[in-house]
């Protein structure tokens, strides 16, 4: 569910607010833009020669880079003094909120401004649809959820803020009255995904979500749980049909057929925190005289964030309504999904507009981050799987998922559907029926986090597969191979992948790895007393992208051949900037020395407009609106859903291709004295870059500076910007350039000739992916497999991961060391999720404001096999295979592989997370 989009430019005008979404370089240095453009002209670029990341130097020298680094004095043109805001959150969500005991904050601790629900109402602020719910709990109501903001206190000085912050720590300044019990709410969404395959793999499906659409039950019980069955009472026709097929599948899984092995299992996963190291923070300054609001933010979703802020203020009373909003987006100290569509930025905005004239900083400390930050959904899963004892093939699968979404909807519905669509992992199962419902609760809001529901469902699946293999009995890898989805097979949604599916290669790698081949010998080998050994394996697939992803890329080359890149996607540590530079270099032969990320106002020349909701739009509407050559289905996406390499770099790559084709290539022809009429003039695809020089046929290699100088002198194309859009396939369009029709995987283009300005090139034809693709679960998938060896101490239950190996197929790895680093980090996060991390959902959980890293344990180096963690990247299937998104998939198999290794060591299967030493000790007693 996304906030509905609107005709962007029209909307901005109608609301009376203009948006500027990143700062142009100011005369005074260092401006925010200069600090965030890396590595910067004439600075050492570690990415040259693959020696590091473009952000290497700033990150090892402590340069101001993150939103939490900036104060008013760091911002040219701002007042010098920073005020500080304290967001007070509810530690209780079952009693009436009576207010704050501010009398205890007297003297120097007295806040200058207190912002409450009443103030929000009086200012006539508009909560964006996506964040629906009271921004502050009104006095007299029970908080909607633990951690709901109650009020914001703003202090002139840091010392007053700091002392008040500590005074609030014990929660006694927040007053509650009568017990009411938690606030009940409707569920956030419920779906049923059912597929019945045809009699052969080539046959059309009998029923599938692709054929019939996604269906939801029309009836609810008195509780928020849906009525899934009996379908006979269901009046909603689309749902009833799915339910009939689904119930028939479940009837096959009752265990009455002796030829069918049926396993019926329940699995629970816990709530965890993304625990990015930089807590959420932001800086705002509302100049009441000029009515300009300036913000410094660090989020994964800059465009959405800016839209949300503009919506918040769109109908505000005059004193609170800026004429212009200028938002700067900084590097992030981690994200993992938890900074995607975060409501925190709304509170930064409130801090600024309720204290006009004074820059205000709002920053969580770690207690507050636990109390208010987005969490991973806790799942309860009930799964049934049927396997033919004769063939070892999985014949049917049914599952019911219940997610705890916490207090606000956020991405709960999306997480539920993505998780359900991943429920059968890498397998080909002809009959599948999965129901899912995301519930409201009084827990801290859950939303996007690495794995996005699939780490939960595929952990349940891959441990079940292991159990089934043991019961049949079959070798775990042979069983997986027997049931693996073929590259041209159909997913449980009924569609096929459009990218490589290399599960069998991964299984071969896992099977041949020494950790796996030596598993029996290691188990039998005498160890020191009391140590038991086990080996486990798992293999998964994870989608990348959301089904409506876009990016914008802008490339410029100066006469000396120096390259600048701007992109709308921000950097959260995933190597976005370095990947961009690397991908662009493939096409234009040089590594950028300026990469600016999180840029949204660098693309004005495209003059984009949008309307409708790209996820729900019908074909007729799309056909009509796409006739406007400026229209695109969506303007900018969050850096999320593992879309960085695949989508985030795509627009820049397309822009680079334009520069090469219409700038550097004709410049080369001129330098080689090849006339346009020569047949070789059309052989640009055969040219290649070699050590910074363009090589073609037996002609003398040409350097990038020479080509750039010629392109500028001849006023050829020296800059290009594009917008791209993917709905499980990239949109493509034809553009008239230099008397040619040029087709690009982009839907908007602007070019610059020589040193001239960018000028829009109106597309003459466009092919957007059909809106029916919105029924697809995914067509983009990356696979990853992991094998793990564990050693467990019988006496203490202490577990050590002795060795591990992960193999991942990632298409073309733009920066292999970044991919390996992601895999290593995903391994660590997987270990934490399996063995260490957990948050109680309600009372006693993080919503009470008392949680910190003393209680919440994440993996340290000593929890990992630092010198025995092997990562292998499969080479791409072809030289031009696009990069895949792997940031999430690399975490997922780690979890079930460890659980399967624990079973191998102990003979005990655990059906909930995390598995603690106490539990292991008990299992081994």
């Amino acid at each position: 569910m996304r906030a509905s989009r609107r005709e962007f430019m029209t909307w901005v005008t109608a609301s009376g607010i203009s948006l500027s979404l990143s700062r142009l370089a100011a005369a005074q240095e260092p401006s925010f833009a200069a600090r965030e453009t890396l590595p910067g002209r004439n600075h050492w670029n570690p990415a040259s020669g693959g020696l590091g990341r473009i952000d290497g130097s700033p990150k090892v020298t402590g340069a101001k880079l993150y939103a939490s680094d900036f104060r008013a004095a760091d911002m040219p043109g701002w007042p010098q003094t920073t005020s500080h805001a304290l967001l007070v959150r509810a530690p209780d969500a079952s009693r009436v909120y009576l207010g704050l005991d501010l009398a205890r904050l007297d003297g120097p601790l007295k806040p200058t401004v207190v912002v409450t629900a009443d103030d929000v109402t009086k200012a006539n602020l508009t909560v964006p649809d996506f964040y629906a719910g009271d921004l502050f709990c009104p006095v007299g109501k029970t908080p909607l959820y633990l951690g709901q903001p109650l009020a914001m206190l703003i202090f002139d000085s840091f010392d007053a803020f700091d002392r008040a912050r500590l005074a609030f720590r014990d929660g006694t300044l927040v007053q509650f009255g009568d017990e009411t019990g938690p606030v009940e709410g409707e569920n956030y969404g419920a779906f049923r995904f059912t597929r019945v395959a045809g009699p052969t793999p080539q046959s059309p499906d009998v029923y599938s979500p692709i054929l019939a659409g996604w269906v939801s039950p029309g009836r609810m019980q008195h509780s928020p749980l849906p009525v899934w069955e009996p379908y006979a009472r269901e009046t909603s026709k689309p749902y009833g049909k799915a339910a009939r097929y689904g119930e028939a599948i479940r009837a096959e899984l009752t265990g009455t057929d002796p030829d069918l092995l049926v396993l019926d299992r329940r699995f629970e996963t816990q709530s965890v925190d993304p625990m990015f190291l930089e807590t959420e923070s932001g800086l705002g300054w509302y100049d009441g005289r000029s009515r300009k609001l300036e913000l410094v933010l660090g989020i994964q979703s800059p465009y959405e964030g800016a839209e949300a802020i503009a919506t918040l203020l769109s109908k505000a009373k005059a004193a609170f309504k800026p004429k212009h909003i200028e938002a700067d987006f900084a590097y992030m100290g981690g994200g993992f999904g938890g900074r995607d569509h975060t409501p925190f930025i709304l509170y930064v905005t409130l801090a600024a507009i309720f204290f006009p004239g004074r820059p205000v900083r709002l920053a969580h400390d770690r207690f507050q981050q636990f109390q208010g930050g987005i969490k991973r959904h806790a799942f309860k899963m009930h799964t049934r799987i049927g396997i033919s004892r004769k063939t070892g093939k999985i014949t049917a699968f049914a599952a019911d998922h219940v997610l705890d979404g916490g207090g606000l909807q956020n991405f709960s519905t999306n997480v539920a559907t993505v998780a359900a669509a991943a429920a059968i992992g890498i397998y080909d199962i002809p009959k599948v029926d999965v129901t899912t419902v995301a519930l409201h609760s009084r827990g801290v809001t859950a939303g996007s986090m690495r794995g996005y529901g699939t780490v939960q469902t595929m952990t349940a699946l891959e441990t079940l597969i292991d159990e089934a293999a043991a019961a049949l009995p079959l070798d775990p890898i042979a069983f997986r191979r027997r049931n693996a989805l073929a590259p041209d097979g159909r997913t449980m949604m009924g569609n096929r992948y459009t990218v490589s599916v290399r599960t069998l290669e991964l299984l071969d790698k896992l099977e041949a790895h020494p950790i796996w081949t030596a598993r029996a010998a290691e188990k039998a080998r005498p160890k020191r007393d009391g140590i038991v050994v086990g080996t486990g394996v798992a293999c998964v697939t994870k989608d990348y992208g959301t089904g409506a992803d876009c990016s914008m890329g802008r490339i410029e080359i100066d006469p000396q051949g120096r390259i600048s890149i701007a992109c709308d996607q921000p950097e959260m540590g995933n190597g976005m900037g370095t990947a961009l530079a690397s991908r662009v270099a493939i096409h234009i032969g040089g590594l950028a020395d300026e990469v600016a990320l999180g840029q949204l106002d660098a693309f004005g020349a495209l003059a984009l407009v949008t309307s409708g909701n790209s996820y729900t739009m019908d074909q007729a509407t799309q056909d009509a609106v796409e006739k406007n050559s400026r229209w695109v289905p969506a303007i900018s996406s969050a850096t999320a859903a593992s879309n960085g390499a695949h989508v985030g770099t795509h627009a820049a790559a397309e822009a680079a291709r334009v520069i090469f084709r219409f700038g550097l290539w004709p410049a080369a022809l001129a330098l080689w004295n090849i006339p346009a009429t020569d047949h070789r003039a059309e052989q640009w695809a055969e040219a290649r870059w070699q050590e910074g020089r363009l090589v073609f046929a037996d002609l003398p290699p040409l350097s990038l500076p020479d080509l750039a100088a010629k392109a500028h002198a001849a006023r050829l194309v020296t800059g290009a910007m594009t917008h791209c859009f993917s709905r499980w396939a990239f949109a493509s369009a034809t553009f008239p350039i230099q008397d040619k029709r040029y087709r690009a995987e982009a839907d908007a283009l602007a070019v610059r000739h020589g040193a001239g300005p960018f000028e829009r090139v109106a597309r003459v034809a466009v092919a957007f992916p059909p809106t029916s693709n919105n029924r697809i679960g995914t067509t983009f998938g990356a696979q990853c497999g992991t094998v793990v060896r564990v050693e467990i101490d019988r006496t203490s239950g202490a577990i050590r991961i002795a060795k591990a190996y992960s193999v991942v197929e990632c298409g073309r790895a733009l920066v292999p060391e970044v991919v390996r680093g992601q895999a290593q980090g995903g391994f660590a996060m997987g270990v934490g999720y399996t063995l260490l991390e957990t948050l109680p959902l309600y009372e006693g959980g993080p919503g009470n404001g008392q949680w910190n890293l003393g209680q919440y344990v994440v993996a340290r180096g000593s929890d990992l096999p630092l010198h025995d963690l092997e990562i292998e990247l499969l080479p791409p299937v072809s030289a031009d295979e696009p990069p895949k998104g792997i940031a999430e998939v690399v975490m997922i198999p780690v979890v079930p592989a460890i659980l399967n290794a624990i079973f191998d060591a102990t003979g005990h299967r655990f059906y909930s997370l995390p598995v603690t030493p106490t539990m292991l000790k008990g299992a081994l007693a």
């Binding site: 207690f367 290593q824 660590a828």
Partner: protein, 171 residues
């Protein structure tokens, strides 16, 4: 209130009147604007806030700053991440961090850098056997949390510096 005088990266700061319960982290970040030293947890659990304390006897150690009052550093000499490079010339360890792709988001990097530097200085005074290098690094860095990297490349970077100069760091 205390009049705080402290030497940071070779430069004397103060005297500055500070509250006795002001943390060193807030003194650096809010009073001096030196935000290279990060705030991670406020509970001395992640050590992204760690700095180097130089003792008069020539030894060095790291200290968290998020729970330690600034006044406890009164009169002391410390180093922060901003002080490792000499002009534009990065330290050996800084270069190693870059070349090994040691970090991703980089927020924990100042703490790892300081800890790694202190380890190098300790090994220069008290070398260890080659067989103990990995465990020595693991022990030194284990207090530091990183959520992105899985720690592997941090360890590889520190190890590469040690092994590049065995005569300096190894027995």
């Amino acid at each position: 209130m205390t009049a705080l005088v402290i030497t940071i990266n070779g430069r004397v700061h103060g005297p500055t009147e500070v509250r006795d319960d002001l943390t060193m982290n807030d003194f650096l970040r809010e009073y001096l604007g030196m935000t290279g030293t990060k705030f991670g947890c406020g509970a001395a659990q992640c050590l992204s806030c760690a700095i180097i304390v130089d003792e008069p006897d020539g030894t060095s150690s790291t200290s968290p700053t998020c729970i330690v009052p600034a006044v406890s550093f009164n009169g002391k000499t410390i180093r922060t991440v901003e002080g490792h490079a000499k002009g534009d010339e990065l330290s050996v360890l800084q270069k190693a961090f870059i070349h090994h792709f040691a970090f991703q988001c980089g927020y924990c990097t100042p703490g790892f850098l300081n800890e790694g530097q202190v380890l190098l200085e300790r090994l220069a005074r008290t070398p260890v056997a080659r067989a103990d290098v990995e465990s020595t690094i693991a022990e030194a860095l284990d207090g530091h949390l990183c959520r992105c990297t899985g720690y592997v490349k941090y360890h590889e970077a520190v190890r590469s510096v040690i092994l590049a100069e065995p005569q300096r760091y190894l027995l």
